[in-house]
């Protein structure tokens, strides 16, 4: 929190490129929620953060989730706060969407849809890739 401001801001800081890769569907396992929480905490460190949704990970962003029947928190609403946390690079793999019969219009937030050929290049440019 505010303690961040007390750091010596003149000290040289190394900005690394961190990519968080979501590959699991929400609710069935804890991975999706864990990754979201890690991204929101990591966003405080002024690093170059990007988030990728791949394979079943694209299901995390499906619109109209209603968890009242299963008694769990509907955390799909929280992806809307990523912008407030200055996490602006959000990529979704085109092939993963297509395999599930989904399009960008089915998702809760605006994202950049990339084909595997292009996503591979973005991934190769990262310093750290963390997969959930």
């Amino acid at each position: 929190m505010s303690e961040m401001n007390e750091f010596d801001e003149s000290a040289p800081t190394v900005v690394k490129r961190f990519m968080y890769v979501n590959r699991r569907a929400p609710y069935g396992t804890i991975y999706a929620l864990e990754c979201l929480e890690v991204v929101l905490v990591a966003a405080a460190f002024d690093q170059d953060v990007s988030v990728v949704f791949l394979d079943d990970g694209v299901c995390q962003l499906k619109k109209n989730q209603d968890t009242t029947g299963i008694g769990m928190k509907n955390f799909s609403k929280t992806y809307g706060a990523l912008d407030d946390y200055d996490v602006e690079k959000i990529y979704v793999e085109k092939e993963s969407l297509a395999a599930r019969g989904l399009t960008a219009d089915d998702l809760v937030i605006p994202v950049e849809v990339l084909a595997a050929d292009d996503l591979r290049e973005v991934m190769a440019q990262q310093d750290v890739v963390i997969s959930f």
Partner: protein, 100 residues
């Protein structure tokens, strides 16, 4: 026999194994992440449609709603049931097999 599938067909082969082992007349219920197998426009739909003639397929409604699939086209002929229906199905069948 009642078969339960709770894993996404994109991640595990539980659905494939179940469809290979299920005898004619089996009931197959998709729950939790297994409900993604019911998406009509998804790659796995064909495998289920091929067994619609000799097996009956069900999907658990609360799990469908949680994943935002209430408005998504599901495979025609799959019955959506609630938790009460789930309990009834378990009671009606002599045996239940969970494909974990």
């Amino acid at each position: 026999m009642l078969h339960l599938i709770n894993k996404s067909p994109f991640e595990r082969n539980a659905l494939d194994s179940c469809l290979r082992m299920a005898k004619s007349g089996s009931a197959i219920l998709l729950i939790e992440d297994g409900v993604y197998a019911a998406l009509a426009k998804a790659a796995h739909a064909e495998k289920i449609i091929r067994r619609m003639g000799d097996c009956s397929f069900y999907v658990l409604g609360p799990d469908v709603a949680a994943r935002g699939l209430s408005d998504a086209p599901l495979i025609e002929g799959i019955d959506v049931i609630d938790y009460e229906g789930f309990v009834d199905m378990v009671a009606e069948h002599d045996a239940t097999q969970s494909w974990l």
